[in-house]
Every structure is written in C-alpha cells, then in structure tokens.
C-alpha cells in the first residue's frame, strides 16, 4: 500500500536484470519498500525459487551456485536472438537490495516473449508479496538496428519483447491492481518512441506502441484506484547502451530512479528523464521530416 508520502511496501520488477529497473527498485527499497520480487528471464535460480517458494536468504545462496550456468544459458539465448540485453548479476542485485534495507528479495522466472506464462508470474509474485504496490515493467532489448534490418525474424522477436510482452504484462498488472483497488504500474517507455528516428526505428516503433498502450491503459484504470506511470528516459548510460556515444541530456539509472520515486509521490502519469526533454521533444516533433531523417542519431 502506498502511504500518504508515496512510500510503498512491495515491488515486483519485471526484467530483473534491467539496470534501470534495479536502480528504481533499489531506490524504492531505500525509501521504505521491504519486500521485492525480481522476475527475470531463464534462470535456474528462479526456477528453484518457484518450486520451493523459499526465503530470500536461500535465494541468495542458490543464486551463487547457479550463476555459472545461468550466465551461459543467457549468453546462448542472447546470441541466438541476435540481441544483447543489459544484465546485472543476480546475486549482486539481491545482495544490494538487502543491503538497501529489503527484508525479502525473491526471484522468479519470467519470459517477456511468452505471454502464456505471464499469469503464473503474477500469481507467484502475489504469493510472495501479498498486495503488489508497484509493478515496474522494465524489460526490453535494444538490438542492433543494422542487424535487425537484415534479419526480420530477429526484428520480430525484439518487437515481441519490447511491445507485445508489455501488452500482456500490462493487462495482467491492470487486472491485479484493479482487484486490489490500489497500486501503480510503472512502464519504461523511451523518448525513442516519442518521435521515431531512422537510426533505431524498430526499437523506437515498439516503444511508441508501448507508450501509447500504457497511456491508454492509464485511462482505462481511471477511478479504479490503480494507476499507470509512463517513464520516458532519454539516453541512459547502462550496459545496454555501452559503446554508443551518449546523446545530449544523457542520464543515469539512478536519475531515472529518482524521477520515478518523485512521480510516485506526486501521482504523475508521464515522467520525462531528465525533465527538460519534455520541452526539447516538443520542439523536435516539429522538425520537417526531410531534415529529421538526416539527423545523425
């Protein structure tokens, strides 16, 4: 339950390896959240946890032992998909969240590209958390635009994660929060979807769809006690963007986390990070297309 000052008690992070997602979760824990579920792709750790529904301390131990295989499996799948995702070390993430003050940190398996499994993810999260105060939907793959343009199948897979996956989790989250009569779904959109650029239009198009979907979902939830907050960061320095030259107004996962915490406190619907991007993009949207398409990034 969010309290009068915007502090929450429980967090479900979808995309448990997303650096931005983890930074947001860590911030919410530092502000007072005590129980966390990290839902992430394809770890033996997570499977073991679901099977045994155990305490977080046990999770940490298992995460240690399973780490080698996990990393391997992920790399294999990442390569196969022709995309590389931002990954944070699970063990470290769990330890960091406990260090920040979490009483319980659980990990459960979650595959964004498998909507059929999403109901089970939310069920598992609810069993561990009780009321879910905040759902952070932070999963996504950036992908290499050039590779994606060569490989339509890889492009479709990335779009499945970046858009279709969010449609499914968004509707599941909405159902859960509506039944609870309270709670916030935080959706990680991007300025890449505000006006789609030549240089990453496949990713940008998925984010544009997600952004529109999330705002529509917010309207659908009006009056239900449940809320949606759409976060539009600019260029965030993470492993996902490693090697890319930073764009103007580049930001960090921690800054995104701070903006999310403030947005929760003030019941914001749309949050730009950093805030001046809102004004910048109002301008960028008016640039004539022939010029826009020639912009370097």
């Amino acid at each position: 339950m969010k309290n009068a000052l915007g502090t929450v008690a429980t967090v479900l992070l979808l995309g448990g390896r997303s650096e931005i997602g983890l930074a947001i979760t860590a911030r919410l824990v530092r502000d007072g959240a005590r129980r966390v579920v990290l839902a992430q792709r394809d770890t033996d750790t997570a499977r073991a946890d679901t099977a045994r529904a155990d305490t977080a301390r046990a999770d940490t131990a298992r995460a240690d032992t399973a780490q080698g295989e996990t990393a391997q499996a992920d790399t294999a799948q990442g390569d196969a998909a022709g995309v590389h995702t931002a990954r944070a070390d699970v063990t470290q993430a769990v330890a960091a969240l406990k260090e920040a003050g979490a009483d319980e940190v659980h990990t459960i398996p979650f595959d964004a590209a498998d909507p059929g499994g999403h109901a089970a993810v939310f069920r598992a999260a609810r069993e561990r958390l009780g009321d879910v105060d905040v759902v952070v939907a932070a999963f996504g793959v950036l992908g290499d635009q050039a590779a994606i343009e060569r490989d339509p199948r890889a492009a479709a897979r990335a779009a499945t994660v970046n858009f279709t996956g969010h449609v499914s989790t968004g509707l599941h989250a909405a159902g859960l929060l509506r039944a609870q009569g309270h709670g916030t779904l935080v959706v990680l959109s991007s300025v890449a979807g505000v006006r789609v650029r030549r240089s990453n239009f496949a990713y940008g198009a998925a984010k544009a769809g997600l952004d529109a979907f999330a705002h529509g979902l917010a309207d659908a939830l009006a009056g239900s006690g449940a809320r949606v907050m759409v976060v539009r960061p600019g260029f965030v320095r993470t492993r996902m963007t490693e090697g890319q030259p930073p764009a103007p107004f580049a930001t960090t996962p921690e800054q995104v986390a701070g903006a999310v915490a403030e947005g929760l406190r003030l019941d914001r619907l749309t949050v730009w990070v950093p805030a001046p991007l809102k004004v910048l993009f109002a301008g960028l949207r008016t640039i004539p297309r022939p010029l826009w398409r020639r912009l370097p990034r």
């Binding site: 339950m1 008690a9 009780g130 009321d131 309270h182 009056g223 006690g225």
Partner: protein, 463 residues
Amino acid sequence: MEIAQALLTGFGRTAPTRASVARPRSVHEVAELLAAPGARGVIARGLGSSYGDAAQCAGGLVIDCTGLPPFMNLDRKTGLCAAGGGVTLDALMRALLPHGWFVPVTPGTRRVTVGGAVAADVHGKNHHVDGSMGHHVRSLTLVLPGGEVRTVTPDSDPALFWATVGGMGLTGVITEAVVQCVPVETSYVCADTERTRDLDHMLEVMAATDAHHRYSVAWIDLTARGRATGRGVLTRGRHARRDELPRRARKDPLAFAPGRGLRAPGWAPPRLLNRLTVGAFNEAWYRKAPRLRRNEIQGIGAFFHPLDGVRGWNALYGPRGLVQYQFVVPFGAEEALREAVARLSGAGVASFLAVLKRFGPGNPAPMSFPMPGWTLALDLPAGDPRLGRLFAGLDELVAGAGGRVYLAKDSRMPASVLARMYPRLPEWNAARRAADPDGLLVSDLARRLALSGRGTGHEGVLS
C-alpha cells in the same frame, strides 16, 4: 442495499484507494454484510475524519455507518446515554445539551461518529483530568465477522471490550455505545488565555497549573525559530455556571445551535500553504492573542471546535493533501519533546499551529494512544519531499523515548516501528483473533501496519 464503487481517502486526502461502499440502514443489514464480506475484507467507516487510511479497504468492502438509525437514548437522571454507532458527536451534543448533559470527551471536531470515537479512543482537552473516550463507555454493541451481534461491557468481556476501544474498527462494527455523560449548567465555557514566550515557559506553566483546569490545551508556533522556538498560546477552561453568564445568555443557558460556518473553497492551488503563508498566519495569530486574559465566556463550539467553523478546510492543502503527525512521550522524556520541536522548527516545514497537551493516565485498552505525558500534533502539506525522512527520524525519537504515534492520525508509518510503540500489541492481536479468526476485518491502515489477523501482513490479499 445500495453498493457503489468509490475512491476513498481520510481527512488528509492522501493515498486514495477504491472499495465497494455499502450504506446499511439497520444493524440487521450490517450483520448481512459481515456474514460474507468477500476476500479483500471489510471495515467500517464513519465520517472519514481519521487523517489517514483507517477507514478504507482497497479492493474490499467499506460499511458506511452514517446511514444507520440516528438512535439516541438519554437517561436524564443518570446521564447514561445510548447512541448508535453512526451518530455524530455534533448530533449528540445538540440532543444532550438542552437536558444539561455534555459528552464526556470531545476531540477538536464534532464531525466524528460515536463508533469512530470509540474505535480511535479519542481524547480531548480534558484528558489530564478525565481520560479518553474509553474511560466513559459502559457498554458496546458490535457486529462481528459472520454476522453475530454482541454486546460487551468491561466486566462481561474485558478482552473484546478493551480491544475494541482504540482497536481502529478491527474487532467488529460498532453499532451502539452506552456512554456516561457529564452534567453541565450551561452550554458555555469560562476560558483563560495566556501567551508564552517559548517552549520551556509553556511546559513550565502547563505542568504547574494544568491540574486546576478541567480543559487545557496549548497551540504552539512551529514556524518560530531561535529564542522564540515553541512560543505559543495556552487556553484553559471549565464549563461555565449559569450565574457567570452575561444577562442575555442566562435566559437560555443551555442553548446550542452552532451555525454551519463558512465553507472553504473545494479547490486550492498546490503549495498555497507554504512556509511563508503559514509563517505569516502563525505570527498574526500569536500577536493577536492576549498576553493574559481570564474568565472569558465562550460558546462550546468556539472553545472546543474552532476549526469546525470552516468546513472543508483540509482542501486548502491542495490536491496533494495533508499529513498529521501526533505523538506522545511520557513525562520525564521532555528532552525528546524539545528535540522534536527543535527538529520541526529547524526543518523549515510549513507547520500550522501545532497542538500541545498534557495527558493523564491511560485506560486498559492495549491499543489506546494516550499515556501520561506530553502529546504534540501538527499538520503538514503532504507534498513536501522532506517529510519521509523527517517523520522517520521522529518515529525513532518517539519510540526510543517510550512514546508512540496516534493511529487515527497516521497515514505513513511503517509496520516495523509499531510494536515498539505499542508493546501490548500481542495482547490486542490475541483478542482480535478471537473476535475475527479469519482476519476478515481489514483496512488499508491494517495492511500498512501489518495489523491483519494473522500477523505478518502478507495475507491482506486473500483473493
């Protein structure tokens, strides 16, 4: 019975949640609702005057008690009054005063129900002499989960009776209370007003002379800093005798017909109440108070419920609402009180007049707030980003001093400090479990503070 979906908040207008709201017209209908309340639980609601989330139940059922029969039955000889749970103290005062009786305890507003007053074990300006509401309740009628209607007295079932007093509605729906009222000759108060230059001066005057006054409360200015830190105005009073009234009032000494008062606008811009506006108000109010004035005859409304004169004043805090923090620290822990006042005035937050009062002995209720000591209550705009840290620090200070925070005012405390503030929590939990073994009585406050029947806070969700 009509059931509607509604977003509910407390008086602070923060953290809205959605619930199904039913408005039963009889105790029988309350029993029907409690027979099968649904998986998300049920809680009673009166006028929603708790500041926080005590009378809301996200995703569950909220029983609006204001539609219950406005039942009041006064024994004019003994002053024993039976009143329905949904009856307001305002209605009760209007009914009692013409017969020369007054409620034994009144909080700073008449806009509370009898059920709510018992569930929060409210206190008033006479706590140091007369105690809180629970001291004056002779019997309670509750509807329990499952639909059983049970009447309990302190002798017939002390565990359930005292768990209900101050139990925040989590032991059942209070449909009737029998209260011992106090006799009065007039509907007026004979009041003394005195200005104090700083906190130490205030504590000294209160400690030395409170015992001579039935009603006593101080308003202190938390926006004043430096040497003036904690300066304030002390108000004391007693029920006036008929021969003290001005000639005109003597004809009808028990007249009580407070007007509806002004209505605050329903909307205010965010940050209307800020450090500057609040500081200026506090300054003007302090300057306006007499240095010392004795034996002023005031109406009951003006003396006890000055804020009821402006209906909907909470809206002035704007869309983000307000948070109240009220704590008590035992006598001997004055250092903690001074520290709290220093932190609050030092933080530069926009705190309207804070209320300082000395409490007398508590009652046997395990979750009752008052204990012998000093209580301070203050309102702050909820949008202030510094409040989380400020209040967390105050929680530690208060708990460390052996004090506690008042649940009827609370809207933000974490579950982790509750047991330290309320050491008799296990005893209350046992009584609550006996009354509600399935943990069906749930409020947002209960979820937040892990007060649900089975202890850990996880099982708030049953669906």
